[in-house]
Each structure stands twice: as C-alpha cells, then as structure tokens.
Symmetry: C2
Subunit: 362 residues, 2 copies
C-alpha cells in the first residue's frame, strides 16, 4: 500500500500546482481514506505539496498506527476538528491559497472557512481526488475482486434456502448472514429484496411482503472487503417461470452480456450505455429500461464514471464499473441483472461470476 | 398520521414567521420525511405558510401516493431537482426571502442558490425542523417502542447461538439475521460486535477477529421500524466471568440504572450525564468513561438532544434518549450497557427491556 499512497499524493500535488493552490482541505471521508488509509467517520485532512495532515478525535487513536502509519502527520484534536485545522494551517508559512471540496463541505462548515479561516483565501474545487480514484491500482482491484467473490458465494448459499411464504425481510436476513459468513465487513447500501410487483420499483427496499410462488424476486446487494465495494443483482423466479418471464429475462441477460463484453476503456459512458439500451429498444422494451446502465465502484458503491445517456466522458483504463440493464413493468414486476467489470488494458474482465442462467428456486 | 403532519407544518410555519422567511428550502432527508412522509433518498422540499412542495424524481412515483398523499404538492422532475425548485419558486408571487438548512446543504448546492437562485434572498437557518423532531408524538413513540422490542427479541434469539471460536463478523451475521426475522427494516448504523481488547475501542466495527473463551463481547446495534430507530448495547462474557469483569460490569450497570431512572425532562443534558459520570468517578473509573452518556433517537439514530458534559440545554418532554455509560481499559476490553428511555410527563419510561444481568454465554 505504502508506495501507492505516495503515488496518489504525488498525483494530487500536481493537481494542486495546476490549480495554483498551496493546500487542499479534504472533508470527504472516502477521499481522506484514499489518501491516508484512515477508515473512521470523523476527520479532516489537509494536503500540501510536502505533507498530509490528518485531524481526528481520540476515539480513533488506537487504529491510527495500523491504518495511517507514516502516510500522514496525525493531529488528535480534543475539542473540534476545525480548531485542529486552524492550528495546523497557522503553522505553515507558505499557506496562502487553499482549496476545499465543494461537493463534500456543508454550508455550515463553509461558513467556518469565511469566519475563523478568514486569514486564508479559499477556492472551491471539484473531483480532484475523485478523478484519481477512478483508475484502480492492483491493490484496489484485488479488494474489489475479493468483495465480488464474497457476493457471489453469499448468493450461492442463499438461493437454496429460499421458499415461497418467506417475507422479503427474512430473505434479506438470510442473504446478509451469508455475506457476513463469507467475510463482508459491511453493507455498502441497504439490500434490495423485492418480489412480485415490487420488483418494478427501481428503488425498492426490502419489506414485510410475503413472497408468493410464481413471482419474480430481485436481489440487489453489496459486499465490502478492505473498504472496497462490490454490487451485484440477480433476479430469480420462485417456482416455475412463465414463458413471458423467460422471454423478458433473456432480453435483459443478452443486454447484460452484450454490454459486459463490449464495454472498453476509451469508450464514452454514453456509448457503453447504448450497447445495452439499443438492444433493449430493438426488442421493444426501451421505455421499460428507465435508469442508466451503470456506475463506477470502489471505496464508494457509486462513484465515477457514469455509464448513462448523458455521460460524455471517456471511460478511463482500470476503472471498475457495474453493468446493470433492467426491464420494469408496473404491476408485473422487474428483471435486472448486474455484474461488476474491470476495464483492463486488454478488454473487460468480469469480477462477478455468478451464473446468469435464470434460476427457478424453491 | 395526517393530523400530526398538519401540526408539524403549523409549528414550522410559526418558526418561518418568527424568522421573517417567506419559505424554507429543506435538503435534509430526515427533515423532509418528518414533514411529508417521503422515505426516498433524492428530494428537496419547499415549505411555505400555505403549502409544502416535494420535488423528487420518477423512481419514487409509485410510493408517493402511499407515503405523502395530500400532505405535499408533489413535483416529479425529470432532469435536476433544482430545475423543479426554481419552477416552483417562480410560481409563488409572495416568495422573496427564503431560508435554507445550513447543516444540510453542500457548498456545491449553496452555490446554486447564489447563481440560478439569485432572484431570491437566501438566509441560512439551523435546527428549525430538528427542534420540532425532539418532542415525539404518540405515533413516533409507538414506532420507537416497536423498534426497541425488535432489538430486544433479536438479542434474545442471538445469545444462545453464540460460541467461542466464531468471528465477530459471523456473530454480526447471526444478530442481523435475527433483526430481519423480527422485522427490522434496516440497520441504522453498522453493527458493532467487538470482543476482547477490541471492546475497548469506542468506535470498533465488526472484524474477522475470533472470539475466545473468557473474553468480553460487546454488541451495539440498532433496529428500524416505520423509519424510527432503536439503539441498544449489551456486553456479555463468553464462558465464565472473572471477578474483575463482574466488578466492573456491576459499576456500569449501576451507572446505567441510576441514570435511566433518574433522567427527567427539564433537566439539563449535562446534569443527566453527571448522574452516571459522578457515580463512575466515585468508583475510580472516571478516566475510563471517555464519551458522553447518550443522545436523542428518532428518525435518525443520533439526533437532538445531547446528554453530555457540555450540553446546557434542558431535555424536552417526550424526547427519547439513549443512556449508555461505559468503562474501557486499553488491552483489557470494555463494558457498555445502553438502553432507550422516553422522557414522559410522569418520569422516564424504559423502551428497551432486555435484562441487564451479566450473561455468561456459550
């Protein structure tokens, strides 16, 4: 990890120079973790061309040695993180113009910059660290791959336990227990277990609804290893699939496979999205695929890049993205099949390996 | 629910008038849920003395009728929520000065108010809705009580399943499955399952560490029903407790019982904190109780009020708070016992009922 964190800092330092900044205040926790290794939930970081300062509270004292080591100068601040920040900044003679993260600073805290921090000039910045995070290094890729394997195994152990008559919440419980047993450190987002007509809701959570024989059951969930996320969706049928369920499933599966095998670094996000979308449109279900094809994956379960109709940016090499086409029909249900794909130098590499054959369970 | 949401709106309208505001932009999702019932993850709301406007995207169309009904005028915005907001505000002739939530608006979005929203005057506000949320009504209290009962039952079903040799993650999996089986809609925060020396870390998460015979095992977790949270901690011994474990456990238990039975609406937060803290100090462990006594509980698992050394505000009637004293010793472990208490008109009412007897499990 060490050398990679040094590389990240060097890249960020170049960005500071290009932006005429003497320093950069980081308030986004995933960005702080990326640069320092710190995984706690209360911290600020100040990056200068010479040093990274991490300001946190006493609760994290024990974990700092393990996580951060010599990659940052650590300040444990008994009162407010901001008091610690002013002290650090006041000790730096070459600090005049400082950037802050416009997308990760609350107005309340921005006001602190203008009041207690008024002796420095503040400039809003966007995506300086996020841009670096888009391109995964070997260590990051290994962690996402491990998380994807946890998700695959948990799903494999869950499906044989399912039966008509269970509630969605009970099924979520079984799935989440298997995720823990397989070593998931957390749940990157609330598990979606949605059955029958509820599978048509693009942002269902799990509910008390009882799953009935013949219904579609959509499972969309994450796993976390070393802070890195995987995100997978499979849709199964409880009992025996109807002809219509099979037919629509086959379309979603083909859209997933076309996009998973066709996506490339260098392609614009919108062109990746179009691989799946144009196929679904040709099958007559264009209106029923109401969301975008996918998103980046890393320390956060939604990060850059976007694979969407409005995404003009080219996908960068070594990014990791989800491919998740779906078809939803109000009242009938929905089918989504989601995999995680690494955009490697020689083409896309699947990180999730769970079968895309339609499963009829229970 | 209907009449209560109308009461909340009336109270907020009074606050608008007192603050000379024609309207209030809400960007904090729990505050939006409190006023409109909407439980989704992407919305803005505008409150005026006459009406509440809820602006969200198409993904939530289906759930809006159930959740929001006639309590807000709903705007489904295909592009950006902000476009919807400008359109709504532009249609209101008496809109001139508008408040926004300083603690729930990112700088990036504050910049939108100054740019696209420049035809209105914007005033930062703090805690206008949070203050209302502190005092729970009967419906809210019923939901927190239900969540506390889910937590109690899940813990009761978990302890008999535990054994030395399991990892903390496996134990978290068992506990979380029981929470789901008992009907928890989600996990308000990442479950803490911390054993041995790790129980001394005030913000441990669950890890791959194997739990050994003779160790303390601390379980701190939440449950959610109807959007409302419970939060409970018990510490058990795997195997047979030592004399020292029993002795320190008894001190924490007595501190919990003194504070749970002694806390009252009208008392300052610092005086509630002092009930437990002064007892622990008299036993010689003052330095080992390094956090505050508790916090409010409701739509969020941490909300007003605070029960802490620096909390001068009086506790309001019908608030719900946690009482969670602890003693932590580096290398040895830690003991925390946490309950949820309603500050009723005739005194404190426990909402969590799990025994505080020291359990020796496995």
């Amino acid at each position: 990890m060490s050398d990679r964190r040094a590389d990240r800092l060097a890249a960020l330092t170049s960005a500071l120079t290009a932006n005429h900044l003497d320093g950069l205040l980081l308030s986004g926790l995933p960005n702080i973790r990326y640069l320092t290794g710190f995984s706690g939930s209360n911290a600020l970081a100040l990056v200068t061309p010479k040093q990274v300062y991490l300001i946190t509270d006493f609760r994290y004292k024990t974990q700092l040695a393990d996580e951060v080591g010599h990659h940052a100068s650590v300040v444990i601040e008994p009162q407010s993180l901001w008091t610690g920040l002013w002290r650090v900044m006041g000790s730096l003679p070459q600090m005049d113009v400082a950037g802050f993260e416009s997308a990760h600073l609350l107005h309340r805290d921005f006001q602190r910059l203008l009041d207690a921090g008024a002796r420095w000039q503040w400039r809003p910045t966007t995506d300086l660290v996020e841009t670096l995070r888009e391109r995964k290094d070997a260590g990051e890729l290994a962690l996402i791959t491990a998380a994807a394997a946890v998700a695959d195994r948990a799903l494999g152990r869950t499906l044989p336990q399912l039966a008509a008559g269970m509630t969605e919440l009970q099924i979520a419980g079984i799935l989440e227990k298997m995720l823990r047993d397989e070593g998931s450190e957390g749940f990157p987002f609330p598990s979606i277990v949605a059955s029958g007509a509820r599978a048509a809701l693009p942002h269902a959570r799990s509910s008390r609804k009882v799953v009935e024989r013949g219904e579609l059951l959509l499972l969309d969930f994450g796993a976390e290893v070393g802070g890195y996320c995987a995100d997978i969706t499979r849709t199964v049928v409880i009992g025996t699939a109807t002809g219509e369920q099979r037919e629509i499933y086959a379309i979603v599966r083909e859209a997933n496979e076309l996009a998973s095998s066709g996506v490339r670094a260098g392609m614009r996000g919108r062109d990746a999205d179009a691989i799946a979308r144009s196929y679904i449109e040709r099958q007559g279900y264009g209106e029923a695929f109401g969301h975008s094809l996918g998103h980046g994956l890393g320390l956060e379960v939604h990060e850059a890049p976007r694979l969407a109709r409005t995404a003009d940016a080219p996908l960068v090499p070594n990014s990791v993205v989800t491919i998740e086409p779906g078809i939803y029909r109000a009242g009938w249900g929905g089918i989504r099949i989601e995999d995680d794909v690494h955009l490697g130098p020689s083409g896309p590499e699947m990180l999730t390996h769970f079968t895309r054959e339609l499963a009829e369970v229970a």
